[in-house]
Symmetry: C2
Subunit: 364 residues, 2 copies
């Protein structure tokens, strides 16, 4: 079987795939509504939140758009903390809908500098919200979200977190860290195919929602809440199969236990980093903030990163990711989130040993 080692979609366990293949039922019927309620409860346990949680049919980017259009009015000042492609995307979405966005950028591969966040908030008290990417898939960096949360807290801003590729696998207690709008996606830690974004909204998030004047319909949290309160409905026909699959995958996650899942990801992240360094490769990310869900590796010492991915795919049946935007051709990435174990990572490291020289790497 192909070893799919990209940062999403992640491979799905057989039980989850079996659930994906279940026959359709009435999405307005009692069985499905009960399942929506169950899935929502299970998500709350794994998000560590008592906030409202909704299932939105769409990609993770749809969830980010939902966070923006439900929280802002045109002209609202927003501080966007970007450390890569996905941080830039969130800033662009907010700007697209008329927010007045100030972006704090870090050099790619580095985490956000909390001092710069503090300075920006001190400088402009009119800033209404802070938006942060928890785990930046494009660079393999995880922001120090607990410190960022502590930094933002005294300023009483709306705190929006793109947790698409973190929550579940990487620690993020939504309530404890004061996250007002949290967004994740089914194809990441949740071991389920893509097609569903999941969001959590705090009381402060609802206050922002009530004041927010950006027009919204499909992504409107208010409509999601109204239908959810009918006993587990969604305003529009949802991706029924993804709900079936989530229901099964969340049981597996609750059985493994959140601390164990996160320990597994930390161990596999470290195993990946240590393994590639032992092969003479260089990490793209600052190791102090390296992600436990995806590792980005530089194309140094003659290594053609694109050729490497081709060799790995064609000769070893291992699928890795390349670099995005400015990083295209310069890095390659190994995904290790969701349904992944030591054997999967060992197979990648073993294959790299013989594949690297075939892709021009001179140091091996």
């Amino acid at each position: 079987m192909t070893n799919l080692r990209i940062p999403g979609p992640t491979p799905c366990p057989p039980e989850v795939l079996e659930a994906m293949g279940r026959q359709m039922i009435n999405h307005r019927g009692a069985e499905f509504q009960r399942m929506v309620l169950d899935v929502t409860d299970k998500l709350k346990k794994l998000f560590l939140t008592k906030n409202d949680v909704f299932l939105l049919t769409g990609s993770g980017t749809g969830g980010l758009e939902a966070a923006v259009v439900n929280s802002f009015s045109p002209g609202d000042k927003v501080l966007a903390v970007s450390i890569g492609v996905f941080g830039d995307r969130l800033a662009t979405i907010a700007r697209t809908y008329g927010a007045d966005v100030t972006v704090i950028k870090s050099e790619w591969g580095k985490a956000a500098d909390t001092k710069l966040i503090k300075a920006a908030l001190d400088k402009d008290p009119a800033i209404k919200a802070v938006m942060v990417t928890h785990n930046e898939t494009s660079t393999g960096v995880t922001n120090d979200l607990t410190t960022i949360a502590q930094t933002v807290k005294p300023y009483d801003k709306l705190f929006i977190v793109d947790a698409i590729s973190s929550i579940g696998s990487i620690e993020l207690p939504v309530d404890e860290w004061g996250v007002d709008v949290m967004v994740t996606g089914s194809q990441k830690s949740w071991m389920v195919p893509p097609g569903m974004a999941m969001v959590a909204i705090s009381e402060k998030g609802w206050k922002a929602n009530a004041a927010a004047k950006i027009p919204r319909f499909y992504w409107d949290f208010g409509k999601a809440k109204k239908y959810f309160e009918k006993g587990g409905q969604t305003p529009w026909t949802p991706a029924v199969s993804i709900v079936f699959a989530l229901n099964v995958a969340l049981d597996m996650m609750l059985k493994e236990g959140l601390p164990n899942i996160q320990a597994r990801h930390h161990k596999l992240g470290k195993m990946t980093r240590d393994g590639v360094k032992a092969l003479g490769l260089k990490l793209f990310a600052d190791e102090a903030h390296a992600s436990d869900t995806v590792t980005a590796i530089l194309g140094t010492d003659g290594l053609d990163a694109k050729l490497l991915n081709k060799v790995m795919r064609d000769e070893y049946d291992i699928v890795l990711s390349g670099g995005q935007m400015e990083l295209e051709g310069k890095i390659f990435r190994i995904g290790h989130l969701g349904w992944v174990n030591e054997k999967d990572i060992k197979a990648v490291l073993d294959a790299l040993k013989t594949a690297l020289p075939k892709a021009g790497f001179k140091k091996a």
Copy 2:
């Protein structure tokens, strides 16, 4: 097996469910891109169009929102032809995003009056677009779209059609009838679970898109085109499983042949209507415009429509739909679109014979 007779999600053939259960692959890899190109080509054959066709991860309502935000600027005058819940929804979406919407309403159960459309277009030459629901699921009525298209044509307006529950099962040659923006959804004629909207955009649709100032990001047709032209990519991670399933379902549809599929739906629609009338029931829809994909039936002669659906579900394992909005409790609906045959409809009619008296129906 449950006989799921609602107007979507429709039951899926075993081959389609098997495809839904396929393991994930890289959505930026060659195999998946080739499949997106194939699925798009097959959809063009069934839409009878040479226009651009895109897959948007989301519900059908997301596709309608995409049609609106890609076509209009705030203040644009739009004529919305509504004959029920979904026509009203499309008008509401356009109004939400700032369009100046005039609604032509018909009494529910009746088709749109083309004379009123002509009169509205004569009265206000500033109207930029006409939006029509082809098949109104809430009332079981199919508009006479070819006559509406002929009526609109000389006025050279942007012609937007909600074909979510029609195209495929009911005749709608997109190019021949001059549809500029067409929207459908995976869980209707396509025999695939919900989670994907499919749209077709004409040259005139692209001109409107270039002028349209409503902010858009997730649903932006321009981004869909840019990524599609990279060789079959989507801007955001798509619902991969739905693409697998569509690929299989579209082959089945091309094998059956579009005229045969439509003839089957017409035959089953007529069989349903004749059958319920023979039981003494009254159609809600004007029979001259009754839908071949869903039949709405009045709760007359003592019939408690809600109780009937409960009896049918609990005692016969047949799932029907109720009425929506003002029609809740007043009608029940039988879906007959997608993967449906004579045996499925005969089972419904046979069960109704004994179920109707249990739900208060006095005439049987």
